[in-house]
Assembly symmetry: C5
Homo-oligomer: 350 residues x 5
């Protein structure tokens, strides 16, 4: 895994792959469509997708795997991307952002997964380049949330085949935001599970689980929060690349983003509440232990004292000679116990 | 119950009913009125209410039940609603929002109830479409807070019959916001009850009750907070659909919304205060138990030691032979007890 | 006492008295003045004050008691008040606000008192209507903070007789804000008292006192905070009813409001600090009890063990036969006690 | 000491001295200078400084002591000050503010001292009136932070003699802000001292010291925070009284103010950290006491039980007759102690 | 080390070196370049670098060591710097800021290091003067993060030799911001280390380590937070000194700054989480000790009472005479122990 620090000292605009290498090889697929036809193929070499740039039809080039800088630079040169855009695509530790270069719009997003093996939220960076008649998407590895969109293009379902590249770009962003709802639902289920198993029987092991959940939510928040600003500035921006009809849809994505943030905040509140209940339960449990045990001790300590008195070996202890001395001691003990219990009961300590 | 995640992968603008299905069947009622006359009827099929669109009189179409997408789409087509509006109406997990489509204004609101059975705050989504001479309202189920308004239309009470569709829409929003005061009063009563039963005698069961109340208030806040922005943008907006006279009334609704938020915040402060008192009371109670019990133990432990000394079996223990040894021991014990009690008293530990 | 919920379902602009009824009967006084003369009288029926509307002199109509809706509506009709203004005057649970109707300005304020009987902050709503040559003030009951102003009008002290109705309205607002300083000083005294009696000797009863104070400050804050916005929007507003010279004075009131808010925040900080010290003192006191008592227990438990050993009845226990066995035990006990005390001392537990 | 409440009921613009009377008598000094000459004198009566108003040279009138309202009113009348300005000067409980009256600028500031006797932060109000060719400064008592400036005027050091009254006013503000650094350094030293004596050996007495420091910082913050806005609005304002060259310097003062605020926030963070460490240390110390003492008790209680068993007086107790019974008991005791210590060691409780 | 307070009383614009003196002597190096050639030299006296001002090529003058005010003033005079700029350069306790003097832009930044010896974050102030064809950088001591840039100039790598002084200034800022990532990675490693060694085995020594880390992050935040504003105002500013192409790069630095702030906030959250876990672990550990020990005590105290009873010396105690009295006692003891253990087990206290 490469760290951001490895880029230190390089000239600005030098693309360096930062982050885990998640794909074996770079895989490039092209979908080219207009209202009449669709063409879909996986290209062997990057040069194969260059001719599409000058066709009037909408072209979606998807690149899985960011580590091959040579391929990146070829794309950059051919499609006229600024060096900083290339640097941004391959540095996977960026925050979501949007940059308007008159000839294209550059958007960085975060795609989220719940990893099956360890139940944590994994983050994958997705970059989009929106040109007048093409969209280029860059992903860290194969497998994405865009399969529905490909299917819609193939089957001409919805409006996608009748509209331009800006609507395609919107669909990609929308798919990523929609996916957040899936992730949030899974996290929400985990919160509920925690609540159901915690409230009846709190254990010390629950604390790390709560903290893990809290951290997942914070990392989620960090991915989603700047997205709000990104979608807003695309919608409000004056770029000629975004048509008016598409802006309405972007407004809708914006509302979804706000809703995601709302849900995250609500989950955070719930987790904070769980934490409070957990801490309070632990302390109640401890208090209960201490109370019962101390009660036992308190009752028996005075009794032991009484027994100790008549265990003394003084020569002249009249009680020891009495016929019913022993019985009297038991009676005294009984009285002490009963009056103590009565006192505790009245004070509601029992 | 359908979740937001079920909409993932569908083309944007596809209406999918998200949320619980709360109504058996879709029920459509129409009220058509002008200053002179009122017509009110329940329609069997959705097509029956289409002719009203082109009448000059004000028409209020109310739809209870959102699950029948066919009906929805017919309404959408006839009244020229954007696909995203339809999607928004049937997705009941949205936050309150307002969207201005030049020919109509689309508003999403939350209607709140205190559910009788479990005393929790239930949320129902209400969507309003305001056109130049009609208002369409969509609710999740029958039963609403609009009965007063229907009565006023029938009896021509107030100004409602003399004004246009914008005033009707205002009345609907106003009724929803007014209803919040009812909900808040019930919550406020619960807070007071909690305060009255908590302060004299705190129990561990009170904590979950406090947390439930806290959560109700947070969910309330989430429903009301965005409403402020919604009402404000309708009032400040430049839509030709809202007449100037109506804006004054919207300003009033805005003030009510702020007041609702204020009251929620005040209740949250109060609940936070109750929580503090609860935690402090629990800890005081525990401290009191520990203190009294430990005092008892402390007094008797040294005494037991004294008794233990004269329980030893040494051959040469002069005290044991003394005539008044036993009496002296009792005197010593008395002195120890009295001086300890005196010391504790002076230190205010008793 | 009537609640806000009783207005639910009524047509907007229907005046309903919300809040406690604090006055027996409605009492209306009129002061009419210009530079040359003053006329002051209490009117029997509301119609008596109507002629003043059309006089060029400045008229101040003061209404004590809001429950008589008939009187209210007469005033509203004669002075051309919007129905929402009337509704706002009689609903005493509003937050401070300012509404500019071109022909008049409507201001809602909160007058604060410290109630003698229970030392709590009481809130009374005061509404002002500022017209071109009149001011109407509405109060919940007789008795107010305006007596000084009446005196100044009668004696022509200050500039009040030479200026218009806007200056009179300013004076009323100023009197209300000035009165906040009195309330704050009383609260401040209570905080100091709490501090002086708390720090030397914390008791469990102090917690509710602190909480009560905290709540007073929160309620105060809620009354004063929106006032800031109110005064600011009157001063910054472009209403022709407020002359430029008066705006300077309003600026001054604005500064006072900020100062009141500052003082409230400072008091809240102080109360929070007192709470921290209280909690810490309570816990220190408990710790001290526990420590001393446990020390006592710890010293005597090993000693009791030693005594227990030589209380055993084994046939063959050589020490029991020794001449100085008993003395040796006492020496051992002494050594144990001294070394323990020494150890505790070194560890600073004593 | 007079309180703000004493001004209640007076006509607006009535000057009333609020705050402690800190000076015996009002002392007025005048410095009049241009590039060529300086004239400095203490005037007996306030009228002596009036002629300077109409001279083209820059005049600095300094007034120490605010209680003589007659003097104040004479100055006000002669220099054309608004009644509210006079009221503001003598009310020493104001927050820092700036008011632009076209013919002059009125600025209220707070001068801070660390009082030698009780180590607390004392606040003195300083008001400045900046006119086209004069500056009037009002202070509560003699002794200030302006001596350096007087010296610079006398010796013509720096640019002060070549510039106008706005630069002089800037110098005064700058001197006050610079002085904050001195106060902050002293507070910073106290924080460090607290840190050095607290960490090795926390005592209950440290808590009030921390709270006092916290309160000093809060009061400091309250004096400095509004200053930021004041300096900014003077710099950004469009008053003709401030020349462009001076604005650059005001920008510098603004930066200093921000830096002061930053330092205060940093100190507050540090104090909060100290408080956390203190509370944690106190609790650790208590825990340590409890732990060691409870360990002792736990070891000896079972041992005492064993001894108690063989102290019983049953006729038929075979062990008592054994030759080595006593020795066996000691061995058992040894085994119990060692195994307990081993167990505690393994659990890291020792 | 000189403190800010030493500048008190000096005329504004008097340069005074504030902060530690970190360099032995002032060292000045000059790099002068255009597309065709590079000239690099260390100058003996400051006058040697003056001729470069009027050359068309780009000149970078780097000054290490700020204590020699004479050198500073010579540079100031020759390059036409405002006195406040000079004062700002030598006062090393400033916050990052940017000042636009039409002929030059003055930027103050903080360069951060992790000090090897004590693992703390050290802050060094770097000031930049950007003129039309020169950049002057001032550092507190030799050794910086600019070596890569010098190398790029020498080898004409990247675009640096083809661009103007604004691009050079950008490169310097970029290098400083890039270096923050290095510092953050080291801090991040320390946080992880803390997490790995803390969770399995919390010790009281961990608290100061956590607090130190917290403080490092706060100090970092204070250095980076204002930088955001600085970079933004340079980028958004309308200075003719910054070319449009360079603004794009500045936008990139801005994004990096936001990312640094994000990472700092994330680390702060993590440290706060560690603190919570630490406190909870400490309290759990203590609770566990208390619980086990108290359980032991509770079991043995009643048993000791039983033994005490039969250690009494009453003449008439029938049980003592019984043949199996002693055995019965052991059976009773066994029953008590087993039933207690069973009870504790059922209550989950074991």
């Amino acid at each position: 895994m490469k760290k951001a620090s490895e880029t230190v000292g390089l000239p600005p605009g030098t693309p360096v792959h930062v982050g885990k290498r998640r794909a074996e090889r770079v895989r490039i697929t092209v979908i080219d469509y207009d209202e009449a036809r669709v063409e879909e193929k996986e290209v062997k070499s990057v040069e194969e997708c260059f001719p599409f740039r000058d066709k009037p039809s909408v072209t979606w080039i998807n690149v899985d795997g960011l580590h091959d800088l040579e391929v990146m630079e070829k794309i950059g040169t051919h499609f006229g991307l600024h060096p900083l855009v290339l640097e941004g695509i391959v540095n996977t530790e960026q925050r979501p952002k949007m940059e308007d270069f008159t000839n294209c719009i550059f958007v960085v997003l975060k795609m989220l997964y719940i990893e099956e093996e360890n139940d944590e939220v994994a983050v994958e960076q997705v970059s989009l380049i929106l040109g007048s008649n093409f969209v280029i998407s860059f992903q860290e590895r194969e497998g994405d949330v865009f399969e529905h969109i490909r299917e819609r293009i193939r089957t001409a379902k919805g409006r996608i085949r009748k509209t331009g590249s800006d609507y395609l770009a919107y669909c990609l962003v929308d798919a990523i935001v929609d996916n957040y709802f899936l992730v949030l639902e899974k996290l929400s289920d985990k919160v509920e599970l925690l609540e159901d198993e915690l409230l009846p029987n709190p254990k010390p092991e629950t604390l790390p689980a709560i903290q893990r959940l809290k951290r997942s939510l914070i990392s989620l928040r960090r991915s989603v929060w700047p997205l709000r600003e990104v979608v807003n500035s695309v919608e409000r921006g004056d770029s000629a690349l975004i048509k008016k009809a598409t802006r309405l849809y972007l407004r809708d994505v914006y509302d979804h983003t706000i809703q995601v943030i709302d849900t995250i905040e609500a989950l955070r509140d719930t987790v904070a509440g769980i934490l409070d209940i957990y801490l309070s339960s632990m302390s109640n449990k401890m208090n209960e232990v201490m109370k019962v045990l101390t009660l036992v001790a308190t009752i028996f300590i005075p009794l032991t004292f009484i027994a100790g008195i008549y265990g003394m070996n003084f020569k002249y202890m009249p009680e020891l000679e009495w016929r019913f001395g022993y019985a009297v001691v038991w009676i005294v003990i009984g009285v002490v116990v009963v009056s103590m219990l009565f006192h505790f009961k009245r004070k509601k300590w029992l």
